[in-house]
């Protein structure tokens, strides 16, 4: 009995080692920091044409894995949620330079080093509970938020989350270290609730645990419209009592945050990898981003659904900012640690 058991176990192990060993030569391997839940339908369309394998993980996990794998990495494409992760990949010399023809498709946020391609953008917003808060009571600038003492203990933020840290980096770079420090300290005095990521924060907002929260625009749209958004767009009934409050034009609180992708140095399929990047800028992929993910497409002339703010208007709200400076994470982390938010 035991012998049979051990034998079958060993056989299973050997078979699984042999059966799944090695990467097939012609397949395109994508390391995707973008979650499976979001991009799987899009990739399924692409898989019809090309042999694609995807490893999902967080940006940070995949970056760490890429670095430990070194030149033995099977990956061809790194597709990330944040400019920070892409910048870090550039600094560690993981990505190759992309041809002009590709970079031109997404000129607005393109990095000068041409190592990664901006694909979509999201915006920072102030989300509020529409049952308990009137939008006219909300500040015009994110810098004035700490003055609203009525929100003491009722503000949510995500200090450990990359998009919030990107916002703090931008705040630090544009308004100066001292303003950033004062803003953080004043916010801390309001005793905000720290969430690990945006999803639980938006849930808490909807559940009345907090009144306002600093988040990204699409989390609110997804919770507010849920699956209804695929129906007739004119007559959507909001499913949740959360709404977004944009700050005034060019306010740092409306910062645009770019997602993007790059081709890895280790790739043995660099032409197929570049082809995938082209696909990400195609009509098909860009309208998928707008309609299903509620992100803003970066291909010029692309449209968004009616319930979203039009592209030009949204882009006009965001401040002019050198996005490559989002790589300067370390001073931001030090600052967040200093004020006790991390």
């Amino acid at each position: 009995m035991t012998r049979l058991f051990s034998l079958s176990l060993i056989a299973t192990l050997v078979l699984s080692l042999l059966g799944c060993g090695g990467e097939q030569q012609d397949e395109l391997v994508i390391y995707s920091g973008r979650s499976k839940a979001l991009v799987d339908p899009l990739l399924e369309q692409y898989e019809g044409e090309v042999n694609v394998e995807v490893r999902y993980g967080s940006d940070a996990e995949l970056l760490a894995a890429l670095q430990e794998e070194g030149d033995q990495s099977p990956a061809d494409v790194f597709w990330a949620n944040t400019t920070g992760a892409l910048g870090n990949a550039v600094n560690n010399d993981l990505l190759t330079e992309l041809p002009d023809e590709l970079m031109e498709q997404s000129a607005r946020f393109a990095p000068t080093n041409q190592r990664w391609l901006p694909v979509t953008t999201r915006f920072r917003v102030l989300a509020y509970n529409s049952d308990t808060v009137r939008p006219e009571d909300l500040p015009d600038s994110v810098l004035d938020l700490p003055e609203h003492e009525e929100f003491e203990g009722r503000i949510g933020w995500t200090p450990a989350y990359s998009s919030f840290q990107d916002f703090v980096t931008a705040l630090r770079v544009t308004e100066g270290e001292e303003t950033a420090r004062t803003w953080l300290t004043d916010m801390q005095a309001l005793n905000p609730n720290s969430y690990s990521s945006n999803t639980p924060m938006i849930q808490a907002l909807d559940a009345g645990e907090i009144d306002v929260g600093l988040t990204n625009h699409y989390y609110v749209l997804r919770l507010r419209y849920g699956d209804a958004k695929v129906d007739d767009e004119g007559s959507i009934d909001p499913e949740a009592s959360v709404a977004t409050h944009p700050f005034q034009e060019e306010d740092i609180g409306n910062l645009a945050l770019v997602t993007g992708a790059g081709v890895l140095q280790t790739s043995d399929q660099s032409e197929a990898a570049r082809e995938f990047l082209r696909f990400l800028m195609s009509d098909e992929a860009q309208s998928f981003a707008a309609e299903t993910l509620n992100e803003y497409p970066l291909r010029p002339g692309a449209e968004v659904p009616e319930y979203m703010m039009p592209v030009d208007e949204a882009l006009a709200l965001s401040p002019d900012f050198d996005f490559e400076r989002l790589q300067e994470m370390d001073p931001t982390l030090d600052l967040l640690r200093d004020v006790g938010a991390l």
Binding site: T2, F5, S6, L9, L13, V14, S16, L17, G19, C20, G21, E23, K36, A37, E53, V54, R55, Y56, G57, D59, A60, E61, L63, A64, A65, Q67, E68, E69, G70, Q72, P74, G84, A85, A160, S162, Q165, N193, S194, Y195, S196, S197, T199, P200, I202, Q203, A204, D206, A207, G208, E209, Y219, R222, L223, D227, M329, D330, L333, R337, G340, L342
Partner: protein, 534 residues
């Protein structure tokens, strides 16, 4: 012992030596990796990062939560274990199953369920008009972790209760002690190894938990560690924090070893062991049912109901059957072999510790626990480095993932086997040897049947954990491998709870099925003298 004699022993006992070497080596790889990475740190920055008030607060929070959860799980597990083993309560087997099922619920699902139930807009408020504050912080983390980890203690205690020789109790009663005093003075002390091994797992689970504490917004060490990896893409300072966590684990292991020292619970006199008479609870049985129902309601029905509600909430777009089937196959094909492998690795490790107690074997046994306490992300990164360097053909194969699960979760398998071994008398094996059996033959024919129950529990633990596992799977699975847990997490993280629900329910259902089958096997293997109890 001289070197030559050690070599001889190793050659004769290869069936112990090889698994022990694999287990110890596998667990030490991540440790070496962490040390290598930590040495790359810039000492000044490291000092600033480590020596600050926050570190002390994290330490306080972590220890506080661990102690709280240990108390919480004991309060849940001890009465339930007693009810299902020492009473004649009808439906004990169902209660046992309900006491194991919380292990099938991923911690973050439990946390989401508790948060969705409480608060001004929670289910309680909407259905019963009962407004309790929305759970968060210490209380929230304490509740979610106690409810999802008490089965570790429950199953260990249950195995111990079943193996107790009741003649001691009977003697105590014959000498005039009342039932309560017998329980406190005779039974409880005998449960100590089970308490220790179950409690150790609970404690290590709390130390390593990320899902619950992050959702409940309670700062602990592992939360800070995760932030370090995620926020600054930093493997080096994260390695330092991971080592600090391992030092804390080391302290707990030392404490457990001290408390365990010198315990002997097997029968020594001649004659057959007696199994305990079962208490008839009479009208008190309703109290027993009420307690069990309360525990099961909170720990199983609440999360299952919440997930069911998510499911109903999603549109009638139909279930993604193809994807569910593929994910189910991926999950089971990694978790089931890992469960068997972990139990096979744990058996010789526990055997050495119990039968040949020495400083050396105690260290071996404790090393198994270090693997469990190593943050899974660091564990995975270490195995990437190791496999690419030493066995590149194995990288991103199912075999490597199975090995990683088995090494990481081996600690869960050691406890039940160890408890069972403590109760298996060594002189039976010695008698078999004097009758001419080889050491291996004696073990297989005499001791193995006695520890089978422990082995089954071991496999159940590892299987259930592997079904929920995330970080190792993310980084080590064959590419394109998508388990149920990966799908559940991915959809829940994007607030697409409707889509997450079918995957979460499948985890719970398959785990329940697996545990059910194991419990049936346990019934078949219970030894004949005790068959009347079944």
């Amino acid at each position: 012992m001289t070197g030559a004699r050690v070599l001889d022993t190793i050659r004769d006992r290869w069936y112990v030596a090889i698994p022990v070497a694999v287990a110890v080596g596998g667990v030490l790889i991540p440790l070496v990796y962490l040390l290598l990475r930590a040495f790359q740190a810039d000492p000044a920055t490291l000092w600033d990062l480590v020596v600050r008030g926050r570190t002390l607060r994290l330490l306080g929070n972590t220890v506080g939560l661990t102690v709280g959860v240990l108390v919480g799980t004991s309060v849940l597990a001890l009465p339930l274990a007693w009810l299902t083993t020492r009473t004649a309560l009808p439906g004990r087997r169902l209660l046992t199953l309900l006491g194991v099922l919380p292990l099938a619920v991923p911690g973050y699902v439990m946390a989401y369920a508790l948060m969705a139930t409480t608060g001004e807009y929670g289910t309680l408020a909407q259905t019963l008009g009962l407004v309790v504050p929305r759970l968060s912080g210490y209380v929230g983390a304490w509740m979610a972790l106690s409810l999802s980890t008490f089965p570790y203690l429950f199953l260990n205690l249950r195995t111990a209760f079943l193996g107790l020789d009741s003649s001691l109790e009977e003697s105590a009663q014959a000498l005039g002690r009342g039932r309560w005093r017998v329980f406190v003075q005779v039974v409880l002390p005998q449960l100590r190894p089970a308490f220790l091994s179950g409690g150790l797992l609970v404690a290590l689970h709390v130390l390593g938990d990320f899902g619950v504490v992050s959702l409940m917004r309670y700062d602990t060490f592992s939360y800070a560690l995760y932030i370090q990896y995620a926020a600054s893409y930093d493997r080096i300072y994260a390695a330092c924090l991971a080592l600090m966590l391992l030092v804390l684990t080391g302290a707990i292991l030392l404490l457990e070893a001290r408390l365990l020292k010198g315990l002997l619970f097997h029968r020594t006199e001649s004659g057959a062991g007696r199994t305990a008479a079962q208490y008839r609870l009479g009208p008190w049985r309703w109290a027993g049912y009420a307690f069990a129902a309360g525990v099961a309601g909170l720990s199983v029905l609440l999360p299952a109901g919440t997930v069911g509600y998510w499911m109903a909430d999603s549109t009638a777009s139909g279930l993604p059957w193809a994807s569910l089937g593929a994910a189910l196959w991926d999950s089971v094909s990694a978790s089931a072999p890992a469960a068997v492998l972990a139990a096979l690795l744990a058996l010789p490790v526990a055997y050495l510790g119990v039968r040949h107690p020495s400083n050396w074997t105690r260290v071996v046994e404790r090393v198994a626990y270090l693997g469990y306490a190593t943050p899974p992300l660091a564990f995975a990164l270490a195995l990437i480095v190791f496999s690419l360097g030493a066995v590149p053909f194995a990288y991103q194969t199912l075999g490597l993932l199975v090995m990683a699960y088995a090494l990481h979760f081996m600690a869960e398998a050691v406890g039940p086997v160890r408890s069972a071994l403590y109760q298996a008398p060594p002189h039976l094996e010695e008698a078999a040897r004097s009758l001419g059996r080889s050491p291996l033959g004696a073990f297989v024919s005499v001791t193995f049947p006695l520890v089978r129950r422990g082995l089954l529990v071991s496999m159940a633990f590892v299987f259930l954990s592997a079904m929920k596992e995330l970080p190792l799977t993310f980084l080590l699975a064959p590419i394109g491998f998508e388990t149920l847990a990966l799908n559940t997490w991915s959809y829940a993280e994007e607030a697409m709870f409707g889509q997450a629900a079918p995957y979460a329910l499948t985890i719970m259902f398959v785990s329940a099925l697996f545990v059910g089958v194991l419990l049936l096997r346990e019934r078949a293997t219970e030894h004949p003298a005790s068959a009347e109890r079944a």
